[in-house]
Symmetry: D2
Subunit: 148 residues, 4 copies
């Protein structure tokens, strides 16, 4: 419905996270449940952030909370098997960042492969205690700028 | 970002499902994880469908698969406590239906209450075995028409 | 395998929590996935504790961490529908408490109803920061003693 | 409480499955939620079975349903990071099989490493439609016998 969710080939996503699907990812229809795609997008974003800021990850006093997310399902995938989440920055603001995400089958997608699903994700940074909008912490901003 | 996710008061959602949050709904930040909202939207839609078509629910040979979903998070909620999911039909097509959804705090929202989160959901009906686009089954269509 | 998991009728469980199952509770086999029973036991225990200690729930500096859990599955249940979790104290110690749990179908089980599943749960209390064994906080102990 | 859950070093578990933790694995206490260990044990067992029987996995007419499970938590782990699930057969019967499971931190545990958690799992084989006890299918039994 919106171009923000259109498919791009694997080569377009500079950050990649591969993992195994789980038995509990499949629903009654024998394919990965829609909410699980969001769990995997969340994991890919936060695993990358944790890698950038190291031990500060669990001590962050300014945190990214999800302001909006969306996913378009182009095909289906299922347990068992690996998936790879691709991630790119759509827009980097002062207090927020939006990502384009995509889920590919397998742990070694080819550059031309098309995703099973495409997503969009907006993180707004807030003070953990007060929950008021706050600039993205500098250490994370520096990492995000290398991608933007 | 899109008007499809704007907030409406509780009175605007004719279908309502109240349930308890779970311990596992909360993430490291002590509030309901974003993916859980989708789980609850999915539950509200399918619980209503199951109520309309009764025993046929688990025997459906034509099923609704999610083609696209989205959620905007206006505030936060957390375990423990009840939530109520409000649902309305946005558009009823021949082979697909889209819903507006909203999550309210508590099990007895007031008509004027504003939702914590608003969602959008597109179900495309397909033949369960072949996964090809198929008209919405008549028993379900009749129920949907009373809401549209 | 152990008598600690034997079935008791609903009347034997003084604490009861009713809630709706979710679409995502069902797995590929169309019934509630085994791990979801643990999610529901966890919810029942923590919802009761939250009720006893009120606003202190999210500010606890001494927390109960799970040392051991077990579940025996006597029958199956599935979304859609309500379930009721029954809970009783098995043993109240100085720094730990063990519960017997049971999951019943429906939101109004009869006194003689037999559970679908029975569980056992050991919470050990620890200092949240240091993770060393610590006596159960007095406010919670007082509530537990009324049940033991 | 029972010796069936005692810790063994990594070398004692012939089947190993490594995967990433997910953001949603952590609960309010910032560590992996207890129910997630069961999700991971389930995944390790079923991924191994799927590998043994290939395409027959999703077409099984005789399925393993969980009759009993248990887990003892010796330490804690958390997202982000990898974990490895170790698995061994405890007892192979005619219509049931029980497994010992263990969760280790990291994707390359050393032979002498001790698990974070140990589990036990009983699968009873039943006819998928009738849900009556049935011998373990021959293709799977042959694979299980190489481990028992």
């Amino acid at each position: 419905m919106t171009d923000e969710l259109s498919r791009r080939p694997f080569a377009d996503y500079p950050i990649r996270t591969s993992t195994l699907t789980r038995w509990s990812d499949n629903d009654m229809y024998g394919h990965m449940n829609n909410a699980k795609y969001y769990e995997l997008f969340d994991t890919a974003i936060n695993a990358w952030i944790a890698e950038q800021i190291g031990d500060n990850f669990s001590r962050m006093t300014v945190i990214g909370v999800v302001a909006e997310s969306a996913c378009r399902f182009h095909a289906e995938t299922a347990f068992p098997g690996a998936v790879t989440i691709g991630m790119r920055i759509q827009r980097l603001g002062r207090t927020s960042v939006s990502y384009n995400l995509a889920l590919f089958e397998g742990d070694k997608p080819l550059d031309k492969d098309e995703p099973v699903a495409t997503g969009r994700w907006v993180h707004v940074y807030v003070d953990r205690a007060e929950k008021v909008s706050t600039p993205i912490p500098q250490q994370l901003r520096t990492a995000l700028e290398t991608l933007a």
